[in-house]
Every structure is written in structure tokens, then in C-alpha cells.
Symmetry: C2
Subunit: 407 residues, 2 copies
């Protein structure tokens, strides 16, 4: 008899975006004259960089001739891209990462979701709260949690980001095996200093734990003192994996390209204590269950590392950061304290009421859609996330409306 993986049954149905859509629809029916402005979604809106567009057209022309046609590529990604990543994202900042440590994929959602397959189902897992739900749900599916009770899964260690800790929680008190971190953070927009990350590296080395570091928003960092990579912290090369993506960097959410970095010095162990190189294990997973990212898309990603591509990425991320600045300023003028949005595209707003209440208030009075913080976890209650990913005039109009409505 076909019997299911019953851990799926523990998954709390995610009603967040369904509930948001329902509220928006009801509002639009009641106010058909008003255009609703959506600042809830973490998705880019600006066109692709010209360098990426050109690289795409060129790669597609290659696919038109038998002499230059490309079929299956290496599952780990083409060397031209792995080398550009290692050189430009790491070696240029003095970080010792080589092309062989880089695994190109079609998205960080896949990579952060798939990596947990490499580990024993008994591993103890720590996740941030508020959190990108993929870290949690994929471990629920694998049986590393108990049931959902109250507002959290049993058996997970939650690292709460609060106003008191600047939304950068310290390492857990208890021993865990896998620790998910995301900086610059989604949803709070918080960033971590070298010292804060070093505390995690120390913890991981002490407990022989692994840090799963999601750096999807690294290209929004402007503060020169902030680390860009977990591998800038000495010792991390033995206890961390890093995930990066072209989605928010270069507007690739519709194209799909990302990568995972695992130095050869990161070890994991069998139950009898034999050491295994994690990079080899991930390579085995990827070569068995993945067939490489699309060739033209990898060429587009490569183009992002040229001098011109880097300049275009800078302009693109500057644009969204300016949106975030306008949001922070607009919210301040409307009397709200907010966080993040300086080295990150997200602004985390103190709601001073339940987060769904502020969501409804902004929707009904200003026709602006945001995301209730409670949707990202228990510690997100009392906040909303406003996204800088939008067209400038939409952001400006939204802030004018909010100020007028709440004045």
C-alpha cells in the first residue's frame, strides 16, 4: 500500500499569503476606485541588467548551431561561472574559496531546502524567529520536529530576534547540530557584525555543529565594516555552508540561479565517528538528483561579474535601497519606529499593536499591502515587513497615502 511520509501531516498549512490575498480582494471590491499598492512581496520589479540580457541573447544564439550547441552541463555548474564566483565574491575579499567549493543551482530555496537531506533525522535544529519558512518546513518534512503546538513546532530551537538584541539573537544556550542564519536578514533587515558571527562560529566549533548561512541579500550591504560572507570569520571554513543567489542581486527571480559554497575542510561524522567531507556528500546529492542550471542562465550570471555587470548590480540594489530609505522616512513621519532597510531591502516596522491589525489599518486607510510579522513566526508578532522591492513612484505614493491616512 502506498504509504505517505507522515511528517508532512505535521506541516501547519501556510495561510499567510492566502489570507493576505483574501483581505486585499475584499478591500478592492469595497474600494474599486482605489489602486492597491503592494509592498508586501519580496520580489524584484526592475528589468534585468543589460549585461545579463546580452549574455542571454548570445547564449541562445549558440543553441541555434550544432557547432556551439550545449546539452547537459556539469551538475555542479559550468567552470566559467564557478570560477567567476570564487574570484569575485570571495578571493577578491581575501576569502579562500575555490571554484571546486561552489555548486551552482536553480535557486537558494532549493539549496536551503535540500541540504538537510545530508543529515541524520535525529539532528537538533536551531532556526531564527522570525524566519524564512523553508528552513523550518523542510526539517518538519524530514521528521526533525514534533507537532506544531501553540505557535511553534516542538523540538526545534528558536532563536528569537527582538528589539533588545537588535534582531540578531545570540547562539542558543543548549547544544544543537544545525543552525540556520540569514544576514542581511529576511524579514527584519538586520545585519550581523563580525563579532556576532564569530560567536556563532565559536559555538559551532565547540559543539561540532554546522552553520547554514543564507546570504541571499549580501549585495545590499553598504557598510564597509559588515562581513559579506560567513567565511570572512576565521574558523568558519570548518563549520559553515553559505547560500547565495542572483535573485535579489541581479533580478534573477524569474530566471533562477543561485549557488552553495562548501569548503573542503567542512566535516560531518557518521554515528561511529568517522569524518566525511560535507562537500563530497553535497556533490553526491546534486549529481544524483539535479541536472545542472540552465546554460543561458549561467551565462547571464557570469555577465553579472564583469565590470559593467557589477556596476549595473550596484545601480539596481541602490535603487531598492533608496526605496527602503523612503519607506523608513515615510514611516517615521507617520510616527512609526522602524528597523533594517539600510543594508537590506526590507524594513521591519514596530506595529504598536498586533501585526495583523496594522496590516488591516494600512490596507483599509491607505490601500497599501504589507506583510504581518506574525506570518514569519511568533517573534514577528508586533511588527510588519515592508519591502523595498517595487517601482519608485509606487513606493512614494504609498508613503504619501500612509502619512495622509494616519496624520
Amino acid at each position: 500500500m502506498i504509504q505517505i511520509n507522515e511528517h508532512y501531516q505535521k506541516l501547519k498549512a501556510s495561510y499567510l499569503f492566502v489570507d493576505i490575498a483574501k483581505s486585499v480582494r475584499a478591500h478592492q471590491e469595497a474600494h474599486p476606485e482605489q489602486e492597491v499598492i503592494k509592498l508586501g512581496i519580496g520580489d524584484v520589479t526592475r528589468p534585468l541588467p543589460a549585461s545579463a540580457l546580452e549574455a542571454l541573447h548570445t547564449a541562445i544564439d549558440e543553441m541555434a548551431s550544432p557547432r556551439t550547441f550545449r546539452g547537459y552541463g556539469p551538475e555542479q555548474g559550468y567552470d566559467f561561472l564557478r570560477e567567476a564566483i570564487a574570484r569575485e565574491d570571495y578571493q577578491s575579499r581575501g576569502v579562500n574559496i575555490s571554484a571546486a567549493d561552489v555548486f551552482v543551482s536553480d535557486g537558494s530555496k532549493c539549496d536551503t531546502g535540500n541540504i538537510q537531506e545530508l543529515f541524520s533525522p535525529e539532528q537538533r535544529v536551531a532556526v531564527p524567529d522570525p524566519v524564512y519558512p523553508v528552513y523550518v518546513d523542510t526539517n518538519v518534512m524530514a521528521g526533525r520536529t514534533g507537532p506544531f503546538q501553540g505557535d511553534r513546532y516542538q523540538g526545534l530551537t528558536y532563536l528569537s530576534g527582538t528589539q533588545e538584541n537588535g534582531f540578531v539573537p545570540p547562539p542558543p544556550e543548549e547544544a544543537v547540530d544545525l543552525i540556520y542564519l540569514c544576514f542581511p536578514n529576511n524579514p527584519t533587515g538586520a545585519t550581523a557584525t563580525r563579532e556576532q558571527l564569530a560567536a556563532y562560529v565559536d559555538y559551532a566549533r565547540k559543539h561540532r555543529a554546522l552553520i547554514l548561512f543564507d546570504a541571499a541579500y549580501v549585495s545590499f550591504i553598504r557598510d564597509p565594516d559588515l562581513p559579506h560572507s560567513i567565511f570572512e570569520i576565521p574558523g568558519a571554513e570548518t563549520c559553515a555552508v553559505e547560500f547565495r543567489s542572483f535573485s535579489k542581486t541581479a533580478g534573477f527571480t524569474g530566471l533562477r540561479c543561485a549557488f552553495t559554497v562548501i569548503p573542503p575542510t567542512v566535516q560531518a561524522w557518521t554515528s561511529t565517528g568517522s569524518a566525511v567531507a560535507l562537500r563530497d556528500l553535497w556533490s553526491r546529492r546534486q549529481t544524483t538528483k539535479f541536472n545542472g542550471a540552465s546554460y543561458p542562465i549561467q551565462r547571464a550570471a557570469e555577465a553579472v561579474y564583469t565590470a559593467r555587470g557589477r556596476e549595473e548590480v550596484r545601480e539596481l540594489t541602490d535603487y531598492y535601497l533608496e526605496n527602503a530609505r523612503i519607506i523608513r522616512q515615510g514611516l517615521a513621519q507617520a510616527g512609526f519606529r522602524s528597523f533594517g532597510g539600510e543594508n537590506a531591502p526590507y524594513v521591519w516596522v514596530e506595529a504598536r499593536r498586533p501585526s495583523w491589525d496594522l496590516f488591516h489599518l494600512l490596507l483599509e486607510r491607505a490601500g497599501v499591502v504589507t506583510t504581518p510579522g506574525a506570518g514569519f513566526g511568533a517573534a514577528g508578532e508586533g511588527f510588519i515587513r515592508i519591502s523595498g522591492f517595487n517601482e519608485r513612484e509606487q513606493v512614494e505614493r504609498a508613503m504619501e497615502r500612509i502619512q495622509a491616512a494616519l496624520a
Copy 2:
């Protein structure tokens, strides 16, 4: 302590293509004057259809303007593609599949590898032999097998394709829960009749088992009596999942696009006997761990379903089928019996000696690379696979060399 999924340790290292590459390198060093012809690889060589190329360029132009830019798409795929698939691949042949049953992905390797996550680790699994290794390895990783002993994994049921059963093994004697099938078959090129598939559907309904039907090579079927889809068999809509790909159909191995079809009537059960719709479970898996296939690639796949696209696909697959015919004929003239290659791109050749011996003979005497059947499983011993995926003149030259060498 970071503890690994120890089932990975059971995986037999796959030396097949490494060993082939090593032999080829040694041959090339010994015979630097001779160009080696590679008929071992199952990868396309012909350019993309013009309709797909045009659709790609158009979709990329859309990404250049904020008015037409596309970010994240639906994880299940865009409706334009899901509807084209349901209409052209299924409804046009009288099969009741709707767009909601179609899940677009970046590859059948991913889909056939990921689907097993939905099931209990205790499920009993049957796989064909010879076999596409992904079905086996992903179940080993999930702990559904014992160790590799002799030439097979303990705890798996192997369905041996032999000359006696025309490489279409009958359903197993014992009860299993998951059954992988692939027709037209890789590596044997065998096809299954309606009656043969009906026997599997009967078996699956009787045992409440699930058929995982890989139809990656469906576009090579020319015999009008052969079923194209498992869903042409009455009853399959309650006990089968179908995987299809644009890789071999339209030359998308470098672009990456495929899809999985699950009718809403396919059920699975919890340990306490509650029924769950498998389509919902897969949807949950895909929305949690996948972010949709690349937008321009989905547009290219859509273009393949236009009248012009269908004609181009027909020409493309005709080209490879003619290669397969030339291979069959060439092998016959050299005194070999061969199978497949009529509604499939692969020719399965009786080696009349251990399969590695014929591999070495053809490499050394004719400079032609093939794939030893033993690399696909114990039942592949005594055969080699020759692939029709190549340029015509390469295939013709390879056959001339084989005939001259073995005359």
C-alpha cells in the same frame, strides 16, 4: 555533532562514466591520429527548434522592461504552459488530464528523484533492471534498501528485462508499494504495449501500489498502436504518476524543463488508513522546496506545442531515429543482433561476450565509444547501449569503422 544521513554510505560509487572516460583517454593517447566517435552518451546534439529559439529571445526582451518583466512565477509552472501540456499531450489523445494536474519543473531527474520523499521510508520498491540509476540511488539515500551485495542492493525488487520477455518484464510476484517503469526504455529502447501496461495497472490497483512512469522518450514513438501515456490505460488515473521532459523531445538538456502529471484521483494513505490526494502532497513539496522553472525556458517549452513547434520536434526526433536505424543496420551487417531503436533513440546490442569486452573491442578496433550494459545493472550484462543522439556523419562513420574492423 553534525551527523550524516548514513544511507549515503551505502551508495555504490558510480565508476561507469569515469571508467569509460579513462579507457577513452588511454586509447586516444595510444592512437592520437584517430578521432574517437562518441556514441555512448544519451545527450542531444542538434540545435534547438527555431520556434523555441524565437520564444526565448522574445521572453528575454520582456525581461528588459519594467512593464513586461517577470519575477517569481508559480512554483507549479505558468498556466500558459500547463494548459498547453494538458491540451496537446493528453486531451488531444482523449486522456482526461487538466492543467491543475501538471507540475512544471527544471528536469525529470529532479522529479523522479524527489518524488520518493512523499512516501514512508518503509515502502517496498521495485525497479527495472537495466535501469536509469536515479530511481535506485534516491531510494538508497532515503533508506529504502539494505547494503549493496554482489551486484544488487538488498531489499529492492528488481524487474529484469531480458531477451525472453522482450525487455518488458512482467509485474513482480511479490507485493511492492512503488514501481518505477520507463517506456520507451532507457537503456534498452524497448516499448510497452497497452496490454503490458494494463498488467501493471491491474497489479497496482490490486496491491494499492503506485506506478512511477517515466515517459521521457515518448516523442520517439512512431508505432500508432503504442500507448504514449500510462494514463491511456483505464484505471491508471488512480495509481500512477507520469514524468515527461523537453530534454529529448525538443533538445532542452541544456535549457532544463520537464513536468510531472498527477491526477487528483491518485491516493496514498497514512499508517492509520486515511486517504490523502498525492497531487496535494506533491504540490506541498514543490511549493516548499522549489521556486518554479525559469520563465524564458517555460516560454520556449510552450512554443514547442505550436503547429510549427510540433513539426520541428517531429523533424528533430526523426533525425535521431534515422541515426538509430543506421546503427541497427550497421550492427546487423557486422553480425550483431540488436533491439530497440525503432520507437526509441537507443539501440541495445547483444554483445555475445561480457559487455565491457565489446566496449573495449569497439573502442580499440574502431575508435567508437559505447556504453557497457553492465553499467545499467546486473541484467544489462551481455549488452551494450549505442545512442542515436549524435550528428549523422558521425554515426555513419562509426558504422563504417565497425564494419571494417569486425569484417
